[in-house]
């Protein structure tokens, strides 16, 4: 283990000088700098980030808290974050939230100062008292796909997204539209799905279509669960002619259900999803696209700027645009279907 002292001795200078060279201080004569650099190269010295971090009071890491297992969309956001951090000198520490947590437990553990200089939270609600504590510790926080007061937030408008999806179905002539989504009371505290569901209800209301709870199904975010729910829906005496799923994964589940029952899509059943993940493209799934990568990228940049400048993050909501992507799983409802 080569330390700064070894370099100093080798170069015949003091520790301070070596440190200054390492940090690019202008306060070093060129000749000295060269000497030091030579010693560094020769010894193959690399600074110890831990020591540096301790001394500086920050470890040059960004913590990303993400439900990595549950949503493929999280991966795409994460990619954006990674891209934003590239070359910044900040390391990305990945905190996975594999299972729903006891209220305010893991944030407590993850959240201590010095775990990370800044925090990026995806899709998860953060308890207000944690947010406060982080603010007090001056740890900047950016929320993606999740909202809170007084914090920097990057989201897209899920309610409008839900409306967009259902408007599309209504315009095609659908009246019996089912919804598949997450339980509004889900253990993770995800809210995206229920916001989309709100959009669904708004459009129904706006068009004078009766809202029927029996056409709404909730369950954990999973392909097979969604498939089971869709199966159930499609086996009703008077099945819906369209299904709006609050995520592409669930929409693909619905597609599987249709296939299993031999219902042709979109002739006998229209399906629309949400997110526009890769899969949607391959499956030809009509969906609502939200800029997943960009949301991660933007959040990463915002956090980084705050970290680098040392300035406080300005709280506020950045809303990213969403967009209806029409592919091949939605169409005018079939006569015989009703």
């Amino acid at each position: 283990m080569v330390t700064i002292a070894d370099v100093a001795k080798k170069a015949g200078v003091g520790l301070g000088t070596v440190s200054r060279v390492l940090n690019g201080s202008p306060q070093v004569r060129d000749a000295t700098r060269k000497k030091v650099q030579a010693a560094i190269d020769e010894l193959g010295y690399r600074p110890n980030p831990l020591a540096r971090g301790l001394s500086l009071g920050r470890g040059h890491t960004v913590g990303v808290i993400v439900p990595f297992f549950t949503h493929p969309s999280a991966v795409e956001r994460l990619r954006g974050v990674v891209a934003a951090l590239e070359g910044s000198g900040y390391d990305l520490v990945l905190f996975n939230v594999a299972s729903p947590f006891h209220p305010d437990e893991p944030f407590h553990t993850l959240t201590g100062p010095h775990r990370a200089d800044g925090l990026l939270v995806m899709s998860l609600p953060v308890p207000p008292n944690d947010l406060e504590r982080l603010a007090r510790a001056r740890v900047p926080v950016v929320l993606v796909d999740s909202r809170a007061e007084g914090v920097t937030v990057v989201v897209s408008d899920d309610r409008t997204g839900g409306r967009l999806a259902v408007e599309h179905l209504v315009e095609l002539g659908h009246r019996d539209i089912a919804f598949i989504g997450e339980d509004p009371e889900n253990a993770f505290g995800f809210t995206a799905s229920s916001n989309r569901e709100e959009g669904y209800r708004e459009v129904l209301r706006a068009h004078g279509i009766r809202y029927r709870p029996s056409l709404v199904r909730h369950g954990p975010h999973d392909h097979d669960v969604a498939k089971a729910m869709a199966l159930d829906l499609l086996r009703r005496p008077k099945p819906p002619t369209a299904i709006f799923a609050s995520s592409d994964v669930q929409a693909l589940g619905a597609l599987s259900a249709a296939a299993e029952l031999g219902r042709t899509v979109p002739a006998e059943l229209s399906v629309i999803g949400y997110d526009d993940i890769d899969l949607a493209h391959y499956a030809g799934l009509t969906t609502i696209r939200q800029p997943l990568f960009d949301s991660g990228y933007l959040a990463g940049r915002l956090l980084l700027d705050a970290l680098v400048s040392g300035e406080r993050l300005t709280p506020g909501v950045t809303e990213l645009p969403i967009e209806l992507v029409i592919r091949t799983t939605t169409a005018v409802p079939h006569r015989g279907a009703a």
Copy 2:
């Protein structure tokens, strides 16, 4: 910022005692422990991992070097790693390799001792001198989907996988079998594809089928690139009746090409991929399954065990089983096709 000294003062004990309580040393009387714990709770103290790390000489982090952008399979492996690290007390630091690197540059930078206590490298070849340096610094390293001498390695047998795929096609009666894969000289240094290609050639040879370079296409690992290559292949006067793609992403590209040309799959064209990513399941793609998640999980466990026990990792190759998964994109070749 509450420090151990604050806790000590509050509890009326010495620093050492607080530290011992924190680390669960048995050398503390129960009454004292309670006192200290109370002070900790009251002050909301959390240890500073940086200081702890510096003192201990290790930061309790595992570095994962992964070409995160290029292969979806990398994500699945990463999931396995995350699962293995869950609750271990080790943080996962994600080092993305977004672009092919200058020979031995980024490993130099990533690789310094104390960047991470242990290193997990995915799909990327590691220069021997880096490996040596890491060994000297006693930083345990596990390679996944990549090989090197004297290191712990978790792989699956790509050559056999390639054989499995092509055997399947030959058994169905195919003779004109194309291969789409990565350039053996690709800038990242990935070798999986060329190993699979070797398997391809071996099977052809074994069955006395002439190897035709014109049926082999190389390009960067990308859906659209693969699609273009497949398009080119299918537009030949005498197109192949089957395509073996060295990854599912590329196979899906081939599928898109077939769709674009109106060739029905599998009647007019058989396609087989590799990896068995989620997409393959949805697309009904016949493929070679390799245990992606498991490979990450196993590698994570191996690394963790070494880290926790302090023992040197035993070098060696663990080969994970592969398996042919027949779905709906392969069949007996169509008469008219030839």
